[in-house]
Every structure is written in C-alpha cells, then in structure tokens.
C-alpha cells in the first residue's frame, strides 16, 4: 500500500457561483507521478490549483471540501498559505522565468524564506540547477538574463526554481505543452529522476505523455452541464490497458476529446 501525501475530499470549486469541478475524491501517493488527463474544460487545472491554493488568486473562485496535505487540511483558516506554497511547488504551462539572471531566478525562493548567506545560496542554486538537469548548460552564465535561454531550458529553470524552496510536492500544469519533442523528452526524463525525492502531480493533454511518465492516472470529464468530475483513478498501467469505466476507454482509445 502506497503512502498518501495529498488527499482531496469532496472537493468542489465554484467560479462565480457555478461549479467547475464537483465532489472530487482523490488520494495522491508519495514519491510517485500522478497524471491528470481529460479533455479541455474538464477541470484538470482547477483541481491542480487546489493543491497549493492558487485558486485563492482568482477573486470569483470558492473552494468547498478538504485538501489534506500530510493529514492537515490546507483550507482551514489557521493554515499559512505561504508555507503551503513553499512545500508544494508549481510549474506552469508556459515557462515564466523572472526577467532576471538565472541565478536570481533560483535564489528568489530561498531568499524570501529567509536564506541570506551568500554561500548557502550558491549551494542551493547549484544543487537545484543540477537536479533540474540544467547545470551543465548554464554554469558559465549564471548571471545572464534567464530570458536568453531556450523555451525548454526556461522550463527546466522554472523547475529548478520550484525545487529551491525544498518542496515535497511539485504540481505541473502541462509543463511540456509549449516545448518541442526533444525538450519535452528532457522534461520527462527529469520528472522520472525527481520522483526519488519528490511527489509529482502533472496535468497533461498528451495521453502518450501520461502513459510514458506517470505511475498513476486520474481521468476527468465534464458532462453536458460542463462540471468536471473524476471518472477513474488507478495505476497508469491499468487505466491504459483495462479501464473500468466505459468513458475512460473511449477517451484513451481516441474516440473523443
């Protein structure tokens, strides 16, 4: 039995009073890659953004239900959202490095959480860039603007940046959708590498990608009323070979979506 790090209980998210996802129950195992798949508009990203309370940033969003992170509901009022986001990092669809140097991009997280010592920062920057498989490509130009990197490098920099706050979980919202196949492959290899220490939850449009990298797969679908629901969750192997739900089978065999 896998150890559970994140758990959604009866999770419902409303935008402007209209539900976007409804009654989602999901248990995410530690140090595994869990992929969330489903057609556009099924609420994959909305679900993902519940796990680090990024929905707080959308004024019209309201979250009901619980998200337990190591057994603690992160939606109770006394939980420090800053600490939640430090421990649950996020990588976005489009690489969004800060328009600063490569070094400063990685150092920003530790800095705002109180690391001042220059040597310690140097150490963190190197460790995270190595972990993100970017160190060899950038070690001679750490103080160059991050926007001079290629898209794939920028995305790996964003991963390094997320690792720098020493999170336990990495949320990835279609991290490779704006990258070419080779850069995508590098990101996928990197994800496999990272599962030794981190739990990864990835939203992806790309079913092959989910099949290639993930250990577990969540299939979501929005019906006629456009409210996203969790249809099926299980080991990736099983979801892609013997799905229990008819709709999952239709989706992965490309009958719609």
């Amino acid at each position: 039995m896998e150890e559970i790090i994140l758990e959604a209980q009866n999770l419902t998210v409303y935008y402007d009073g209209r539900p976007a996802i409804e009654e989602v129950n999901l248990r995410i195992p530690r140090r595994r890659i869990t992929a969330i798949i489903g057609p556009s508009g099924c609420g994959k990203s909305t679900l993902l953004r519940c796990f680090n309370r990024m929905n707080d940033l959308i004024p019209s969003a309201r979250v009901e239900g619980k998200v337990l992170f190591e057994g603690v509901n992160i939606y109770t009022p006394d939980v420090d959202v800053v600490e939640v986001r430090r421990r649950i990092g996020m990588v976005f669809q489009k690489p969004n490095p800060f328009p600063k140097s490569i070094y400063e991009n990685v150092a920003f997280g530790p800095r705002i959480h109180g690391v001042r010592d220059r040597r310690k920062l140097d150490e963190i920057v190197e460790r995270c860039l190595r972990a993100a498989a970017l160190w060899d490509e950038v070690k001679d130009k750490l103080h160059q603007n991050a926007l001079t990197l290629s898209g794939g490098q920028q995305q790996r920099l964003c991963i390094a940046r997320a690792l720098a706050t020493e999170p336990e979980v990495l949320l990835m919202d279609e991290p490779a959708s704006s990258l070419d196949p080779i850069a995508t492959m590098k990101i996928e290899d990197l994800m496999r590498e990272l599962t030794r220490e981190y739990t990864i939850v990835i939203v992806t449009h790309n079913m092959q990608q989910a099949a290639r990298v993930s250990d577990y797969t969540v299939f979501m679908l929005a019906g006629e009323e456009r409210v996203g629901r969790l249809i099926e969750f299980g080991p990736t192997q099983q979801i892609f070979t013997r799905p229990r739900d008819r709709r999952t089978e239709d989706y992965i065999t490309g009958r719609f979506g």
């Binding site: 680090n52 990024m54 940033l57 004024p59 800053v82 600490e83 939640v84 986001r85 430090r86 990092g89 996020m90 976005f92 489009k94 969004n96 490095p97 800060f98 328009p99 600063k100 920003f108 997280g109 705002i112 959480h113 603007n145 926007l147 964003c158 940046r161 997320a162 720098a164 706050t165």
Partner: protein, 285 residues
C-alpha cells in the same frame, strides 16, 4: 478593371489627406519654434539667467522664475510620486474588484480631465486659506500635486497592468507574499512605464500657469526663494507677465524664457524616452 483603378485612386486620395494633415501639424510647430527662436535667441545670455526681473527689459532676467520652477517641481515630485505610485499599486494589486473600486477608478479618470484652473481654486481654498500656507511654494506644489495625481495614477496603473499575470503567479507559487511579489517582481518590470508616467506628468506640471496664478503666485519676485514657505513665481507666469507688457523688449524676453522652458521640457521628455528604452531592453519577453 475600372473598379480596381477606382480603389487605387481612393487609396491614394486618403494617403494624400493623411500626409497633408501631418504636414500641417509639423509646419505649424516648426513655424512656431522658428518664430520663438528668432525673437528669443538674442536675449539668451548669462545675465538673462542670473538677473531678477526688472522694469528695464535690458536688465531683466529669469533667475527667480527658474529657481521658483525648480523648487515647485521638486516639491511636486516629492508629494505626488510616492502617493501616485502607492495608489496605483493599491488599485491594481490589492483592491478587491468591486463596485467601490470601479467607482474610484472612474472618478480618477474623470479627475484627469478637470480643467487645471479648478485645481487652482481648490488649492486657493484648501492650502492658501484653509491651511494658511499663504502664497507659498508649498501651496503651489501641493496644488500641482493634486493636478497631476490622476495622470500619474493612471499611467502607473497601466504600467502595472502590463506586467504579465504569469510573473505574479510564479512569485506566489514560490510562497511569496503579495508585498514580496509586488516589490521584487512586479515593480521592477513596471518601473520603466511608471517612470515615463512620472516624467510626463511632471512636464505637464512644469508648464501649468492657471492654477498657480489662481493661488496668487506673484509675478514680480526680486529675490531667491529660500524655503518652501517663501513666495515665488515660475517660468510660465513670468512669460505670461512679459507677454502682456506693451514694450517690444519684454516680448523678446518672453520668447527667451519660452525657449528655456521648451528646452527644460524637451530634455525631461527625452530623458523619459531614454530611460524607458534602456530599461525595457532588459525585460524583453
């Protein structure tokens, strides 16, 4: 065939109209500048800058007006820049999107369109009489600050809004507080735009005459202003004063002062453009 010719003709006619419109504007501006330069260049000398105004055109200078302008603009910047930027940050980054915020936004936009003499009347009542600042530099600077605040806030908000949302999300996702995101990610990127807004609104203030006359800024000052509570005059008022005299000598002085004001204004604008280009290159997407 006929149709095509007709379409091409219409196109060319329109091009001609647009070109004429541009030319009219440029020619008018050039003539104005040439006329001012022809009349004013002769009076530009060292004594023109260091002399106080005088009854005798050959002895008169812009010393007190230039000093007054520098005093007023510095104080105006001191008051309006922090207030304007802080208000813009609040409205753009913190304020909830509700009806009250929208009402405030609407009113700031309206205030930017209020004639400047109205601000003069407000300044007269509020600062000169209410706060008993008399006809001081401080009263003038406060009045001009009110005048340019709406412009400054609007320009700063536009600069802040141009910062991509993805950058804020990146900061928040790392566990940054709202202030840390604003301070370290949003402001540096918005800074060139804010700076342009600051300089353009200060250029507006530097050319204003009506509100300062309304609050009673004197037109004849034969001493250096030494502090914010001193009486003062500024370049536009000095120009206004000289132009309204009958003697030709004063008209030449006015032209000279206009040249000085123009140079100050154009260098401020040039500086704004230079800074914007320089800083923007660093943040190219």
């Amino acid at each position: 065939m006929e149709l095509r010719k007709r379409r091409e003709l219409i196109g060319r006619v329109f091009e001609g109209i647009a070109l004429t419109a541009t030319t009219i504007g440029l020619v008018a501006l050039t003539l104005l500048l040439l006329d001012v330069a022809r009349r004013g260049l002769g009076v530009l000398s060292w004594s023109f800058f260091v002399n106080y105004p005088s009854r005798f055109p050959e002895q008169a200078g812009i010393r007190s007006a230039l000093l007054g302008t520098l005093w007023v603009i510095s104080l105006t910047a001191l008051f309006s820049v922090p207030l304007g930027i802080a208000a813009a940050i609040y409205l753009e980054e913190y304020a909830p999107r509700n009806r009250l915020t929208r009402l405030i936004e609407l009113n700031i936009n309206n205030l930017a369109g209020v004639p400047s003499i109205i601000y003069g009347l407000l300044g007269l009542e509020l600062f000169v009489r209410g706060m008993r600042l008399e006809r001081s530099i401080l009263a003038g600077a406060l009045t001009l600050s009110l005048l340019i605040l709406p412009i400054l806030i609007t320009a700063s908000r536009e600069a802040l809004r141009a910062v991509p949302m993805s950058l804020r999300e990146a900061g928040f996702a790392l566990g940054a507080t709202r202030w840390q995101v604003v301070r370290h990610q949003v402001l540096p990127v918005a800074f060139p735009g804010i700076l342009t807004g600051i300089i353009l609104s200060l250029s507006r203030a530097i050319g204003e005459t009506a509100p300062l006359i309304t609050i009673g800024a004197l037109t004849f000052i034969a001493f250096d202003p030494r502090g914010p509570l001193d009486k003062f005059t500024v370049l536009p008022i000095q120009i206004f004063n000289w132009v309204s005299r009958p003697q030709e000598g004063f008209h030449r002085l006015a032209a000279g002062a206009i040249l000085v004001l123009l140079v100050v204004l154009l260098s401020m604008n040039a500086f704004a453009i230079y800074l914007r280009n320089r800083l923007q290159r660093r943040y190219q997407w």
